[in-house]
Amino acid sequence: MTRLFARIEDGIAALALAVMTVIPLLEIVLRRSVGIGIPGAGPIVQHLVLWVGFLGAAIAAREGRLLSLATGSLVPEGWARRVTTVIAAAIGCAVSTVLALAAVEFVQSERGVGSSFAAGIPTWVAELVLPIGFALIGLRLAWRAGERWPARALAATGLVAGWFLGTHPALLEGRSALPGLALIVLGGALGAPIFAILGGAAAVLFMADGITPAAILIETYSLSVSPTLAAIPLFTLTGFLLAEGKASERLLRVFRALFGWIPGGTAVVCAVLCSFFTAFTGGSGITILALGGILFPALVKDGYRERFSLGLLTASGSLGLLLPPSLPLMLYGVVAQMPIEDLFIGGILPGILLTTMIAAWGMREGLLSGAGRQSFAAGEAGAALWDAKWELLMPIVVVGALFSGLATSVEAAALTAAYALFTQAAIHRDLSIRRDLLRVFAECVGLIGGVLVILGVAVGLTSWLVGAQVPMHLVEFTRAHIESRTMFLLALNVFLILVGCLMEIFPAIVVVVPLIVPLGQAYDVHPVHLGIIFIANLELGYLTPLVGLNILLASYRFKRPVLDVARAALPMAAILGIGVLVITYVPWLTLGILHMLGRS
């Protein structure tokens, strides 16, 4: 029964993602042939993002894959871990329930208006996925709080508490938000999902101001259906399809054949390959999961030290975030409301710089340790290139579609996903449509949902900050204390690294970008340069010990303690830090190509 429900759930979510891919493709074709596209194509795709996101979040909750901070895993196993798990789950349950009730209020208000988003479909019907999603998440958090019923029952008290708070919002009105915030931060530290920390904080802050937490859901909806956001799930799908096929092996063979003869060649290969892969999967962490398994043994076999290899792979997982079509750059464009293409162009040289620096460090290690290298064989290089031709053509497909006027960013993303599916399933036959497709799509939806639910509540928190006029006060404060642009940039670096230490890159973009964009204007920093500085700094945050996603994933993938991985990644973090400073103080790296193209 549960399994059947899970399969139906997976089926609906996968179908939504599939339709989301097909509609933009049809739109490209119809527009060029008949001249008329599908009625409501844009809004339908945008609302499918909402469904994919929140069904995905529910699926992630079912599988216990909602992202949480690493601090929870520092609690020793045994009874202590069981207790903290239950507390964290109870807090997660309470927040989910408050948000589910707020979502009901939002949907009711929308129903009263009676609007339709496209093709006569009422908007409120599309929004129903919000209360459903949060309710499922709450129930599943309680279910997964432990193996036995007492643990689950204790966690479920959170559901009751959330219900009580959600139906009596006046309890918090006019009171200090601090106790509530402290409780939520505690829950987060003990391992409550990240969405519960950000969403819970937003709910407490709004309720203390006497504003309904449904205000959060308004923002969640608005972000989810923003026109360019749909590109993000579609590129995530591309990454998933590539990871599922043998694309990574084919690419590894190419890069080994091309760069393997260099001293430290395998390390260079790792850096370049990871950049390439991360660009497409965009910091979703797939790089480490998908490539770690082949690259780690390859490095160790070639004689690299284990600690070096571990650090290299952990850091490599965040290289490529500045290269198109990186998802953080896209999200930055969506939030800062600027052309994504400009960010893509601006990120090219800085992205290459960071990859080169890490590769150079790898070469140094290769020289020092005398790690093995292979000789260059033209025949092998040719064969490898030919074998991986479809994967290597992919960036050209994306860039071509984007810059030729053929497609919008969402359509280009759909085209890339379709291309990845076609090459992996039909040409290479690494993916079986019948056997693998539903599973791959459902897993991908789970990942998208895990990220989107965090973003959805993070915009709620941002909206509270805007309402409290924090961005304006921040500009006033900074202008009063910092005069020169150089000093401002330095302060910005320090601030963003701190943000990177405390927050994941996606919610950080949503929450912090609205705060720094007015600052950038005040100090006359070019918006594209600001964006690249922002993402480059946050790239470092992936490597910070406690909440760095890469550290977590590497610890999981290579079965090493979190702190060991963090230590191994330190030298890489230092190198990237130098790169970030260069990117910050040499604006030409970012703006040079844009100037040449006359786009800035």
């Binding site: 527009r31 001249g35 008329i36 596209g37 009625p39 409501g40 844009g42 809004p43 209020e105 939002f106 208000s109 929308e110 009263g112 208006v113 609007s115 988003f117 496209a118 709004f206 504003i211 309904t212 449904a214 205000a215 308004i218 923002e219 909806y221 608005s222 923003s226 026109p227 360019t228 464009g333 409301q337 600027m338 052309p339 994504i340 293409e341 400009d342 984007l402 810059f403 030729s404 006027g405 053929l406 497609a407 919008t408 960013s409 909206s463 805007v466 309402g467 006029q469 961005p471 609205p514 786009r599």
Partner: protein, 332 residues
């Protein structure tokens, strides 16, 4: 009894509209002896107009200065200002606006909002890569439409145009890659966003005015004392009058400045334009504009044209007003 009003708008921070709204908030405060305090959130920092309206319905915001996009989502009668080529100039618009105001106010009040004043946003002109002078030229152009407004996109399609729905942030890329080659926008916006550099031609025919209005939620309005409400209405109407004078000047000046930078202004030629205007209006009647509102607007507009003609003034004065001495600072 004191009220705190959060007023949201998408007009750019520091623009003529933003300044006048902030002034209005300050004047409300002095006029009511501090009982009504207002915080203005400009530049879309509270979200697009649909989002702002959602927040108003849940009392997370109390007031908003909206364009016709948001207004028509409160009540479809506001679409009357979206009918292409319906008004030929500001005089016609203001006359019809005055006639419709009581009815429109009543309609928004039924939806829980109070309309405080009108705000002019300028006049949409077609900016294009290739010169557009005939109807056929316009139908050939790949025309930008807002990705958020599907009704309008479908309406363009149904009438033989080639709309390309995209996000506003994609406009510049769309123009450089050729995905779109024409966009309806106001001269002021075209200059602010530097779009005109990609679209060297402007068809000076005035598609439609960008009508705006400030609305406050009825719940907030009713909680304010009648005396304070009267003060606030006075202040709001002063702002309306000021914008009525300033905004057309700003558009005219922007056009002149862009012409100095190489913008070529073309006039519509051929008899089809008037016919197109009549046909397009008819396709919207009852579909996008309530029939009674549509008829009321047509009746008043035609009566106005007759009065003008009788008084010996040309009925088709251009929408473009004379340039003003005061220059608005172009935004980078």
């Amino acid at each position: 009894q004191s009220s705190a009003i959060k007023l949201a708008t998408v007009v750019p921070d520091g623009s003529v509209w933003d300044k006048s709204l902030k002034q209005m908030g300050a004047d409300w405060k002095t006029g009511t002896n501090g009982r009504v305090s207002t915080t203005v959130f400009s530049g879309g920092s509270q979200g697009d107009e649909a989002t702002v309206l959602r927040k108003m319905r849940l009392n997370a915001l109390q007031a908003a200065s909206l364009t016709v996009v948001g207004l028509s989502s409160i009540d479809w009668s506001f679409n009357v200002f979206n009918i292409p080529f319906f008004f030929q100039n500001y005089d016609e618009l203001n006359d019809v606006l005055q006639t419709l105001t009581p009815t429109l106010k009543q309609r928004v009040e039924q939806k829980g909002f109070v309309l405080l004043h009108w705000g002019h946003g300028g006049w949409l002109q077609v900016f294009s890569k290739q010169p557009v002078t005939t109807v056929a030229d316009l139908k050939k152009a790949k025309l930008y439409t807002s990705a958020g407004d599907d009704t309008m996109t479908q309406w363009y399609k149904a009438n033989g145009f080639q709309p390309r729905a995209m996000a506003m942030t994609d406009v510049l890329t769309g123009l450089t890659t050729g995905m779109i080659d024409a966009l309806p926008t106001t001269p002021l916006a075209s200059m602010s966003f530097q779009w005109y550099k990609q679209t060297p031609y402007m068809l000076d025919l005035g598609i439609s005015p960008v009508v705006g209005a400030t609305v406050i939620s009825k719940r907030t309005w009713d909680a304010i004392s009648p005396a304070d409400r009267a003060k606030m209405t006075d202040v709001a109407l002063q702002v309306e009058k000021q914008l009525q004078a300033d905004v057309p000047k700003g558009d005219g000046l922007a056009t002149l400045m862009m012409q100095n930078q190489g913008l070529k202004v073309t006039k519509g030629t051929g008899p089809e334009w008037q016919q197109l205007a009549d046909n397009l209006g008819q396709t919207m009647r009852g579909k996008m504009v309530p029939p009674d509102i549509y008829d009321m607007a047509v009746k008043e507009r035609d009566a106005f044209r007759q009065r003008k003609a009788a008084a010996g003034q040309p009925a088709t004065a251009p929408a473009k007003p004379a340039a003003a001495p005061k220059a608005p600072a172009p935004r980078k």
